[in-house]
Subunit: 434 residues, 2 copies
């Protein structure tokens, strides 16, 4: 990065910064570069930012999609030096220094790749073909429609006493005991206990099962053993089955085969067992590590690419404290983006850039009403207190006043009604059905 100063900043009045991806990293960078001496272009395949930590609440009918998605143009409207292009990246013309996209070529002086992560099936083809994922708004809405449709089918199966078929339709298997897996399981368990009981009177709630499967020895592996134990206890209290040290070996759309020999009849498997770097067309195969991330130095430079940088989930910055790179979460992405922006501004003022260092602000997960685990520094919280902290932090990090209010409104309705109200089955619409 140090060599950039002369080449880019001394030859041009306003270096052109092209940012691919408007997740936590990309959007933080855009905000930091707003009204600064750069010409910024944000490129994303969607026209909105997705607040991924709350996606699971869209999938479980607690939040509306609009409350956690934010249109990019609403943010950059007042930023005179920022433009947005909704486009897919097709390749990079390294010679001409142009990003080739579905809507044309975008010339850059500095290219920033912040394409985030995608679901990692670890080569499990059955799962890649049959399991549901939870990385996009579309996927979350699909999970919502699916589980609601399963409930409706369960009612119809009651009419004909097909109890075995009903158990299969009402068994929800979640692979992966990280925050997403734990949070989805908790939310589904609450739906079983509150909504299935009161609004699907024809169905015996005992017919519904939720099972979390993890290959490791405990849930929430990124947190302390204390928090893992708490999360397990909370989930068990809600009636969730937990299978640890267990791997999924196959799934044909009806039966999950497990490494312990067990089989589970189910029509719904949600895969939350891992993520990998989201590749960008144009980068050479060699650039990628086995986990799909791209190796960067502590200035976020991609090796061998002087003008090209990677931020967030897709960037693996190996340091002494983090030999496997930073965790693939919002915090490192935002901190890297903030730091990278500072470095660009330093360079524009002819100062030397500074290496990045990550400050761990903690992690947390919620498991139903009044129950969560949170770790902040040495502090380990559980129960209701952690739940309120979890809510506060998420509201704080949401983008835009309207979305904060919308989430608060949705949560207030849920809190006082004990009901997940956003239960619409909306399927892809095919024009001209007549």
């Amino acid at each position: 990065m140090k060599t950039l100063a002369k080449k880019v900043f001394e030859s041009l009045p306003y270096p052109r910064v092209v940012i691919v991806g408007g997740g936590f990293a990309g959007l933080s960078l855009v905000r930091r570069l707003a009204n600064k001496p750069f010409k910024v272009t944000l490129v994303d395949k969607n026209n909105f930012h997705t607040f991924q930590p709350l996606l699971y609440q869209v999938a479980t009918a607690s939040l509306t999609p609009d409350s956690i998605a934010y249109p990019f143009r609403k943010m950059i409207g007042p930023m005179d030096n920022v433009i947005f292009r909704m486009a897919k990246v097709e390749s990079v013309d390294w010679e001409a220094k142009e990003l080739v996209t579905s809507v044309g070529r975008l010339p850059y002086d500095i290219l920033v790749l912040a394409t985030g992560s995608t679901t990692n099936f670890f080569g499990n083809r059955d799962m890649a073909a049959k399991a549901m994922q939870l990385k996009t708004v579309g996927q979350a809405l699909d999970i919502r429609s699916d589980f609601l449709q399963n409930f409706e089918r369960a009612v119809a199966l009651s009419d004909t006493n097909q109890t075995d078929e009903q158990r299969k339709v009402l068994h929800f298997v979640i692979v992966g005991g990280g925050p997403t897996g734990v949070e989805v399981a908790g939310a589904l368990a609450e739906i079983k206990n509150k909504i299935l009981t009161s609004e699907y009177r024809e169905v015996d709630p005992q017919q519904m099962d939720i099972t979390v499967i993890d290959a490791g020895p405990r849930l929430l592996f990124g947190m302390s053993e204390e928090s893992s134990a708490r999360a397990k206890q909370y989930l068990e209290k809600l009636g969730v089955g937990i299978l640890l040290d267990t791997q999924v070996q196959g799934y044909d759309g009806e039966t999950v085969r497990l490494s312990n020999g067990q089989e589970i009849e189910t029509e719904t498997v949600i895969w939350a067992a891992g993520v990998k770097g989201n590749p960008i067309p144009g980068l050479k195969e060699e650039a990628y590590l086995p986990n799909g991330r791209v190796l960067v130095d502590e200035y976020n430079t991609i090796q061998g690419h002087e003008y090209v940088f990677a931020l967030g989930d897709m960037a693996q910055m190996v340091t002494e404290a983090y030999p496997k790179g930073h965790p693939m979460m919002a915090q490192p992405a935002m901190q890297q983006a903030d730091h990278f922006a500072k470095n660009l501004l330093r360079l524009s003022r002819k100062k030397q850039p500074l290496p990045f260092s990550y400050r761990d602000k903690g992690s947390m997960a919620t498991i139903g009403r009044h129950r969560a685990v949170a770790e902040i520094g040495n502090l380990k919280l559980g129960g209701g207190l952690a739940w309120y902290v979890w809510m506060g932090v998420h509201i704080l990090f949401l983008i835009g006043f309207r979305n904060r209010m919308a989430v608060l409104f949705n949560w207030a309705v849920k809190y006082f009604s004990y009901s997940n109200t956003i239960r619409l089955i909306v399927r892809p619409f095919v024009r001209s059905s007549s």
Copy 2:
């Protein structure tokens, strides 16, 4: 209906009432029969009621779908004598008195058809194949995604100076000058004036056009000439082109051909020119009038079907005051349902049923901020006053406290921000994309 009393009410303790369709008619009937001596089954292909008068605001990014859609089960949860089946009707077994659905057979003593209306293309095949409709939540979301995607394409076309192509992408043609057409046109015009100007800086707003086409001599034909003139004036002030006494003769997806010889290059045609009764499988061809509705007497009985009734849009009740049946709107549907419920209750108490008569409570349409027309009795309102009346009436008739609050919230955000904020392009998701 009078003969029902003996056959149904004297032989059974609780007559089984099966209601097909949970629109205004079906849902009103369900609410009136709640906790009364009937066993009620509501059947609908969706799991939610759609408040159709506000669908156009979902299509134009002002309201979230959940704010105008209400899950049936949330309503019938506390009603002990009502159950819900999400199902498609396949046929009716008149002999066995059973409704045959995609989830099994539902026996009835009294069958109520309230399937509403569907888009009427009046035989225009081009339009049926290429135009967008606005009768369901899915269609509204599709219009929303489409116009937002057109805006994004318009930005990309600016990069390459393709101004002709850009005009085509930004020309929105609405066929039909009734309330829906007028309301959609007004909302799009506001988006042009506020959002296109501020958030799509690369696009010259003059490139965007909105045209309303109607075959008749004036807009809002169901209202007075005074209101028609007002609506026209409001739309013209907002920059909307209006073509009256004009018919659409063809559309190939790129060019609309009109009866006056004019051609309009456009990629977006929204068809709001008419509705027809929504047919139900199982009813004989002869039962339908040319407009797709079913003739009923003033007790809502379908001719020749002693135990079968039709309510709302799909029922054509010919009276002296309404020789063509009641208007296909929410009010007649709700009033018929309320009256029909009263008649059922009268029969159960061995009283004679009473013939229905419609009380016209007026009609209204809104055309952008602070502008609407409303007619209540002899009172003809316009401007800001009509706009507030319009809002109040719609909030009042929405179902459920949560939805009222959600609509108020969305409206408040829009009012104070001058911005349509719910601008997410969400397309059908295809599983296993990797």
